[in-house]
Symmetry: C2
Subunit: 230 residues, 2 copies
Amino acid sequence: MSAESLSPTPRTTLHRLRERARTERADLDAVLDAGLVCHLGVVIDGVPVVLPTGYGWIGNTLYLHGSSANRSLLASAGQQVCVTVTLLDGLVCARAVFHHSMNYRSAVIFGTARLVTDPDEKLAALRAVTDHLVPGRWEHVREPNRKELAATAVLAVPLDEASVKVRSGSPKDDEEDYDSGIWAGVLPAALTFGVAEPDPALTGDVPVPGHIAVLAGRVRGAAPAVDSGP
Amino acid sequence: MSAESLSPTPRTTLHRLRERARTERADLDAVLDAGLVCHLGVVIDGVPVVLPTGYGWIGNTLYLHGSSANRSLLASAGQQVCVTVTLLDGLVCARAVFHHSMNYRSAVIFGTARLVTDPDEKLAALRAVTDHLVPGRWEHVREPNRKELAATAVLAVPLDEASVKVRSGSPKDDEEDYDSGIWAGVLPAALTFGVAEPDPALTGDVPVPGHIAVLAGRVRGAAPAVDSGP
C-alpha cells in the first residue's frame, strides 16, 4: 500500500456495496474540501453524543474547535471519536421504493482526539478552520487575542483511519420494473450560497470584500461529474 | 410543562448560549421537516460510530432505515443512540476571528433504539421515510415486497428527549471592533434542488411527475425569516 492510500482497518472496510468505497487519500481530502460541517461523535457517560461543528485540517491532522466550555469537545480529549463529513448530492428516485437511495460523498474518520494546547498549533488550527469555511477570511479580520485563545478549545484528530464512500449516477432497479412506466431519475441537491447580507451595524461605506463576493450564488463543493455509477 | 414541550433533561439542557435553545415540540418538528439527512451515533465495541442516513417520523417516533446487513443499525437495537439533524443556514462572518459562527438549526435526539419487526409498522415507517425525502413519492412507485422488506432494517427512536438549537441573524462583535472598517455579515447557505435528471434507462415518453418537477430549483427547508438574533 502506498503512502497515499487510506489504511483500511476492520471498521473502515466496507462489508457491503464495496463499489462505493474510495481508498485513496486524495478521496478523503476531496470530501473534506467539499464539506463545511462535520458531525463529531463521542461517548459521554457511556452514551453516544453527536454534535455538528466546523473543521479544518493541516496535513494529516483534522482540527475541530469550539468553546473551551464545550462539554463534548472536552470529553473527547484522549478518547476515541468518530468524525463524519457528509455531502448530499441528490435524491435517487427509483421505480421501486426499495431501490430509492441518495447520491452522496461521505468520510467517516476514527481516531483518538487530542486537545491542542501549544499556542502556535492552536493558532494555525484556527486559521485552517476559518479559511476552510471562508477561504481568505483569516487575512481580512482581527486575529484572536490571548483571552480569546484561552476561551477556545481545539481538538486534533489524526486522519489515518477513514472510510470514504461515494454514490453517484442513476437509480438501479429490478429488471422487471424497468417497463413499469414509472418515472425514475435523480433530483440533484447542493449547498448553495446566497448573496451576502451585510451586518446592519456596519458604519460608513464598507464594500463586500472579494473573498465573500466571489461566493455569492456558488455551489459549495460541487459533486464531480457523474461517473458510470453505481 | 405542557404536553407540547420537549422534556429537558441534563443532557438536553444547554449550559451555554441558552438563548439559542428552543423548547417547544413544534421546534423539533420544524427541524425534522427541514432536514433530509440525519447522523446516527451509536457505540460499537466501546467506540462511537456516526453514520448519515435518511429518516422520517410518525407522531412521537423517529424512523431510520437501511440494509438489514447494516452493522450500525443492527448494533443500535436496544442501545442508547443519538440522532442529530443539522441545517446550515449561513456563515456568520464577524470582524474578529473569535466571533465567527454559523447560522444553523439543529436537533440532537437521545433515546433507546428499537428494531421494528411488526410488518405494518415497518411499512408505515418506510412510507414516512420515503415521503419525508420526496413528498408524494410513495404513491407513485412500487411498494416493497416481502423479500425487500426482509432486506430492510428499520430503527425506531422515541422523540421524547431532544435538544433543539437555532442561531440566526448578524454577527456579534466586541464593542471596540465595530469601528475597524472590517466587513461583517452573513453569507446565507441553503440546500437547493436542481433540475431532475431522468434515468437514461427510461423507455418511451415518461414525463417528470409533478411531485418531482415541483422541487426543481427549490430550497429544501428554507430557514424562517431572521429574527432579532442572537
